[in-house]
């Protein structure tokens, strides 16, 4: 879901893997796109998705060149753009370009201590759902009539996430979602399967594999990653009980930055403490 997704944190990955990990996220998101589109055509249109991708790349190029005077690696912009192209549903074209542009610029406009705290695509999607509800909806369809495309995406996703050391986030989220689905079924009296149904859709594959695993906008310690993930799932449960259709996006939108801000504050405190300690010869 973002430029700095999955593979761009070298320290998170086992060093023996010879593959340039910056290409893993684009590879996986392209698998999602192809699995969905070639098996049952889930895109609004190729042209809209292309518009989202090209806008994301163009904005990334301009922004990084202007800010840092260099050309960026485009993997992350590609992931953001393709995610927008899949997640946004609109009969119009402009929301695709606008969502991509908001996603990318949010990375450079909203920074704390040199770090952006929102997942860019999550920010873009939520912004569109809040500000342009009359023109935009989110991806809410299912994976066709068979499980094969979903299985393919899950296999690739699990392998890649394991390679980059973020599988714990995904597995924690899935377990949490199912637990809270059971809680919701108890509360609402609805069948458990109806509460669990959304996680079988492509919107969740994108959410699980790209948004909540984004290294740039998640905390570093694994225990903290898992804790934050459980909190996101819990807040999503609350939003679902309040009947928000796009509950996971809203939950991540709120919990993600708070977790990052806490980590930034802790880092600052530690840095200050280190600075106060005398240097031992």
């Amino acid at each position: 879901m973002t430029t700095q997704s999955i593979a761009t944190t070298p320290s998170a990955a086992p060093r023996r893997i010879p593959i340039d990990q910056r290409y893993l996220a684009p590879f996986l998101v392209t698998c999602v796109l192809l699995a969905g589109q070639l098996t049952f055509g889930f895109l609004e249109s190729w042209s809209r998705t292309f518009l989202a991708i090209s806008t994301a790349i163009a904005v990334e190029l301009i922004a990084v060149r202007a800010l840092y005077g260099k050309w960026p690696h485009l993997a992350s912009a590609y992931v953001s753009g393709i995610s927008v192209g899949m997640l946004v549903r609109s009969p119009a074209f402009w929301p695709y370009a606008l969502c991509s542009a908001i996603s990318i610029t949010s990375k450079y406009a909203l920074r704390i201590e040199g770090r952006h705290i929102w997942n860019p695509t999550n920010f873009g999607i939520v912004a569109m759902l809040m500000l342009a509800a009359d023109a935009v909806a989110g991806l809410s369809v299912q994976w066709g009539n068979n499980l094969l495309p979903m299985v393919v995406v899950w296999v690739f996703g699990i392998v890649i996430l394991r390679m980059v050391g973020r599988l714990n986030i995904t597995l924690t989220y899935v377990a949490s979602f199912l637990f809270f689905a059971w809680v919701r079924a108890l509360v609402t009296g609805h069948p458990f399967l109806s509460e669990a149904a959304p996680i079988t859709g492509p919107m969740y594959q994108l959410f699980i594999f790209f948004m909540i695993t984004d290294p740039k906008t998640t905390v570093r310690p694994k225990w903290a990653q898992s804790l934050v993930t459980v909190i996101i799932a819990a807040l999503e449960c609350v939003f679902r009980l309040m009947q928000f259709v796009y509950a996971p996006f809203y939950a991540l939108f709120i919990v993600g930055p708070i977790a990052n801000l806490i980590e930034i504050a802790i880092d600052k405190k530690k840095a200050a403490k280190r600075a106060q300690q005398p240097v031992t010869p």
């Binding site: 049952f40 055509g41 249109s45 569109m128 023109a135 935009v136 299912q142 109806s194 509460e195 259709v245």
Partner: protein
């Protein structure tokens, strides 16, 4: 980091966030105008619609069925169709009558006979076409009229969730049920049917599109696994039927033999010659999936939805109607879908032909609904093209609204939850959350989009008098009082039948064509079916042209009057009208007079 560049980025970011507001404020929402009645709609828009059902003696209120108790928790949305209206001149007195279906078990359908003085009389009981809604035979979903034996009187086909029924019109005074003799299927859950002569043999054939599988009896369910296997990719719906008219009062089911095999969930179909071959093609709008376009190669069908461009982006097709929206002598196809702000924005489709169909034999279409301002219509159902203000350009009337129950509680969240689930979840009604008294896409404002003639439509519904918020299903058009203006009849689910009388601004000319094919009961060689279904008329005037076709059903569970109505604007100079008969004969009518009905018989 360049600080100035960052400042620019922040300003740009704020501007991007403000963009949706600016588009709403200054971008022109396309198709939306004011929301209150206009003081002078005739002066402003060229027409006014006045609801006058009760004043016309029409007191019909539709009732929904009560299906198997296993579906009780989602009954409002499952039992959400069946209100339908079709137009017929049942006794050939020159005035259009209305046939209206009910769907509550034990209810009676209505046949409103047009007295000619602005009032109607229900004669369905007297003619034997009223008592058609019983649990053992199913309840009505719609009806279409066609003169299958070329005796000059339109016969009645009633399709149901249940047993379809064919009635022979005995001279406009009585109907005889001929279902068994004709060879109709014993049980099918049908939501669309059209009469058309697919093989051009001079006899009307009948297409039926199944919704639920024909193995399902909705009153006696074997199990609850009868829902669509997907919200957008379902292939477990009802089969299709093509009943070839053998000419002796019998029909033969030939769908598979001629290439009409599909298990999609058909909700609407329209037949029209989209390629200029003389053979009618068939467009099917499917719920829970993509639309299908079956081109007709001399009586054999080929599904070319993807090649034509209409078979991508699955939606919830609920309407199929054709109209020459750009006055270019070619039909665009309108398909209605679902749009709910912030939840599901499928957008309706207006498939406008591009390129030349002669190139590959397959027409190419582009969806211009957004560009032309007719994409967002709520939970849309029936729609029809018609020149409502006689300005020479086709307008579009759309009804909408799915389930209007509680005004404060919505089922949308639960609906979207299940709609995204895997087939193992969605296809079993047991997994669907209870609906209770909640609404789903209810209380929606209808759309009356008038064309500006330059490719844009403007919604003027409230301004011209259309303010009802019933759950609209079927809309049909007819000039009920012979004034040269098309009135609008709307059938609402669990709501009243509405009759909007149309008053058009004076000075706007029109011309009508009442066609009669040359075939007779005992002669069908080299002639067209007597109802002239499939005949095309192109009127050339003031340097422009408009194409229309006589149809045996269109929209959603509806059929317009067979007489073709063309608005012409002010002071028209009509060069000619060209009639292309289903038999292939072409008849040119030079300089036809405006403001009158031209009765045209197919030449020998």
């Amino acid at each position: 980091m360049n600080r100035y560049a960052r400042l620019v980025i922040i300003v740009l970011f704020a501007g991007l966030l403000a963009t949706p507001f600016l588009i709403r404020r200054f971008g022109g929402s396309g198709g939306a105008a004011a929301r209150s009645p206009h003081a002078d709609p005739i002066g402003q828009y060229g027409f006014r619609l006045t609801e006058s059902a009760k004043a016309s003696g029409i007191d019909f209120v539709h009732g929904g069925p009560t299906l198997d108790p296993k579906l009780a928790h989602i009954m409002p949305q499952v039992a959400s169709m069946g209100a339908a209206v079709s137009i017929v001149d049942v006794d050939r007195d020159g005035r259009p009558d209305l046939y209206v279906t009910d769907s509550k078990e034990g209810s009676r359908n209505r046949l409103y006979h047009n007295r000619g003085d602005g009032t109607f009389e229900d004669i369905a009981d007297r003619l034997g076409v009223a008592d058609l809604n019983q649990p053992d035979t199913g309840v009505s979903m719609g009806a279409v009229w066609g003169d299958y034996d070329n005796d000059g009187f339109d016969d009645l086909f009633v399709y149901r969730w249940g047993r379809p029924d064919l009635f022979h019109n005995d001279g406009g005074t009585h109907f005889t049920r001929v279902t068994t003799v004709a060879g109709m299927p014993a049980w099918a859950n049908v939501n669309t049917a059209v009469w058309f002569d697919f093989d051009r043999d001079g006899r009307l054939d009948l297409f039926m599109g199944g919704y639920y599988p024909e193995s399902v009896n909705l009153w006696k369910l074997a199990d609850t696994r009868m829902m669509p296997e997907s919200f957008e990719y379902a292939n477990n719906g009802g089969r299709k039927y093509l009943l070839k008219n053998l000419g002796n009062g019998r029909f033969e089911e030939v769908s598979e033999r001629v290439g009409l095999a599909s298990r999609r969930w058909a909700l609407a179909a329209v037949a029209a010659d989209l390629r200029g071959t003389g053979y009618p093609d068939l467009f099917i709008a499917n719920d829970y999936g993509v639309s299908e376009l079956f081109v007709n190669d001399r009586g054999h069908f080929r599904e070319v939805g993807r090649e034509a461009g209409v078979g991508y982006a699955p939606k919830s097709g609920m309407n199929a109607s054709v109209g020459d929206v750009l006055n270019q002598g070619r039909f665009a196809i309108y398909v209605s879908n679902i749009s709910e702000e912030g939840i599901l924005l499928q957008g309706n489709n207006l498939w406008v032909p591009t390129g030349s169909p002669e190139e590959e034999g397959i027409p190419k279409y582009e969806n211009l609904a957004r560009a032309m301002g007719v994409d967002l219509g709520g939970w849309s159902f029936g729609a029809q093209f018609a020149d409502l203000n006689n300005d020479g350009f086709l307008d579009l009337y759309l009804v909408n609204g799915y389930v209007s129950a509680s005004r404060h509680e919505s089922y949308w969240y639960d609906f979207s939850k299940i709609a995204g689930g895997n087939q193992l979840v969605i296809s079993d009604a047991r997994n669907w959350p209870a609906m209770g008294t909640r609404s789903l896409g209810g209380y929606q404002q209808k759309k009356v989009w008038i064309s500006d003639g330059a490719g844009r439509f403007l919604d003027v519904a409230p301004m011209v008098g259309v303010t009802d918020r019933y759950d609209g299903r079927s809309v049909a058009l007819a000039d009920l009082s012979g004034r040269g203006a098309l009135d609008v009849i709307v059938a609402n689910q669990r709501g009243p039948l509405l009759l909007y009388k149309n008053e058009v601004a004076p000075g706007r000319a029109w011309i009508d064509f009442d066609l009669e094919g040359g075939c007779r009961a005992d002669a069908t060689n080299g002639c067209s079916n007597r109802a002239a279904i499939g005949a095309q008329v192109t009127v050339f005037w003031n340097g422009q042209q408009q194409l229309q076709e006589v149809q045996g059903g269109s929209g959603f569970c509806a059929q317009n009057q067979r007489r073709l109505h063309f608005g012409l604007g002010s002071a028209p100079a009509i060069e000619r009208a060209v009639v292309r008969w289903p038999s292939g004969k072409v008849q040119v009518i030079p300089n036809p007079q405006p403001n009158r009905v031209h009765k045209v018989e197919e030449p020998a």
